[in-house]
Point group: C2
Chain length 254, copies 2
C-alpha cells in the first residue's frame, strides 16, 4: 500500500481522539464488568489463600494484561507532540505497571490452587496464560535493553523495532484469548449446569467477553492504521531542526 | 516506518518460502491433531444427530475458519508473480470453501444440541463463534461486491482495501480465540475432573491450542511484514508495461 498523503493524514488525525475515547470507554467497561462479576456475583476479594483470593486473578489480568497493556501500546499514537524519548519512558512505565499487576494476579491463582490442592498449569487456559506472561516479560526486558538502556546500537534498534511492534500486538491478542478461555473455565466451574439457563451473571460475563474483543479490535486498529503512525525519527529530527531554526529567527539558508 | 528499500525486499523475500512452509506444517498439524482428538479419543464422526455428529464441529471449524482461512489470506504473498485478478479469484474461492465448511460445522453443533435438548447460543464460546462467522460472511459478501463484481469504483476499492485487510486479520484472530474457548468447553465437558490428571487426551488438546496460536502468529507475520507486501497496482502496471515492451522488442522510446 502506498504511504498516505499529508492531506489524508491530517483529515484522519481528526478522527483519532474519537477512537481513543472509544477505546477508553471499552477498556474501563471491561475493568468495571470484571469487578462487578468477581466483587458482586463471586463474593468479593481477599488475600487469605481462599476462594475470594481467586477473584483477584481475573481482576488483575484484565486490569494489567488487557487495559494497561492496551493503553501502553497506544501512547505513541495518543501523544503525538511529545518527544519520542519521553513517550518511550511512558510506554515502558505503563508496561511495567501492567507486568507487576499481572504478577500479583498470577500469585493469587497459585495461592488459591495450593490452598485447595488443585494442580497448577494443567489446563489450556494456564498454558496460554503462562506463554503470554513469559513472552510479555521477555519482550519488556529485551525492549528495555535495546531501546532505553544507554548505548544501544541504532542498527540493532532499527532491526528490532518491527519485531517488537509485531510481537507487542501478538502478545496483547494472546492475552485477550487467554482471558476468554479463563472466563469459559470460571463460568463452567462456578455456574456449572445453570450456565445454560442464562442467569444474569452469565449474560454479564458473556458481555464482558464481547467487550474484551471490541477493546482489542479498536486498540489494534489505532496502532496499525498507517495514517496514525508517528512521523519517522528522520522526519521528526528534520521538523525539530526546522522549529529550532524558526525560534532562533535564522534564515532558511544558514 | 519508512518503506523498505529494494535490497531489503529481495533479501527478505528469500526467507518467505521458509515461513510459508512453516505455516503449512503448523496448519496441517492443527487439522491432524483435531482429527486425532475427535476421531480417536472422542469416538469418531457421524451425521446422525448424536454425540459423534458433534465431533464434526471442531474438525470443520479448524479446517475451515483456521487452516483454509489462514491460507486464503496468504495467497497474495505466496503467488507474487501471478496477476492480481487471478489471485483475487483464488482468494475468494478458498474463502468460499472455508465458509461452506464452517457452515457444515455450525449445522453439526445445532443438530447435536437439538438432539440432546441442549439450548443453543448460551455460552461465551457460542457468542464469539457466531460473531466470527457473521463477520466472515459479511466480509466475504462486501469483498465480492467491491473487488470482484464488475463495475466497482476504483475510489471505493482504495477506501475499502485497508478496512478489508484489517478486518480480515481481526476475524482470523477471533476464529482462533473462539476455537480456544470451544476447546476449553469440550475438555471440561468430556474429561471433567480427570482433566487435572493430565491424561494423553488433555496433553494433545492443550498442544493443539498452542499450535493454533503458533499458526496464527506465523500467518499474521507473513501477511503484515512490509517487505513481503506485493508491489502496488501502479508499480505492477509499470512492470507489466515494461515487460510487454521488452517482449515486443520495441525501443524504450516508443
Amino acid at each position: 500500500m502506498a504511504s498516505p498523503s499529508s492531506d489524508e493524514v491530517s483529515a484522519s488525525t481528526l478522527q483519532l481522539p474519537w477512537f481513543v475515547a472509544g477505546s477508553q470507554a471499552l477498556g474501563i467497561g471491561c475493568v468495571v464488568l470484571v469487578g462487578i462479576w468477581m466483587g458482586h456475583y463471586r463474593g468479593g476479594f481477599s488475600w487469605n489463600r481462599d476462594e475470594l483470593e481467586f477473584n483477584v486473578h481475573p481482576l488483575c489480568m484484565i486490569l494489567g494484561m488487557v487495559f494497561l497493556y492496551g493503553d501502553a501500546i497506544m501512547v505513541y499514537r495518543i501523544f503525538r507532540q511529545e518527544s519520542k524519548k519521553c513517550i518511550k519512558i511512558v510506554h515502558a512505565v505503563i508496561h511495567l505497571g501492567a507486568l507487576l499487576i499481572t504478577i500479583i494476579g498470577f500469585v493469587a491463582v497459585f495461592h488459591f490452587h495450593d490452598a485447595k490442592n488443585i494442580p497448577n498449569l494443567y489446563s489450556l487456559h494456564s498454558w496460554l496464560g503462562l506463554t503470554t506472561v513469559v513472552m510479555f516479560g521477555l519482550q519488556w526486558i529485551i525492549g528495555f535493553l535495546i531501546f532505553l538502556y544507554p548505548g544501544g546500537l541504532a542498527a540493532l534498534r532499527a532491526w528490532y523495532l518491527p519485531l517488537h511492534t509485531f510481537f507487542g500486538l501478538a502478545i496483547f491478542t494472546l492475552a485477550i484469548a487467554s482471558s476468554l478461555t479463563g472466563m469459559t473455565e470460571k463460568l463452567l466451574f462456578s455456574l456449572n449446569k445453570s450456565y445454560k439457563d442464562m442467569p444474569v451473571e452469565a449474560m454479564l460475563a458473556n458481555s464482558l467477553g464481547l467487550l474484551l474483543v471490541a477493546f482489542s479490535v479498536v486498540v489494534g486498529y489505532i496502532v496499525t492504521r498507517p495514517e496514525w503512525k508517528r512521523p519517522s525519527q528522520a522526519e521528526e529530527e528534520a521538523l525539530s531542526m526546522h522549529f529550532h531554526r524558526i525560534t532562533r529567527g535564522d534564515d532558511e539558508d544558514d
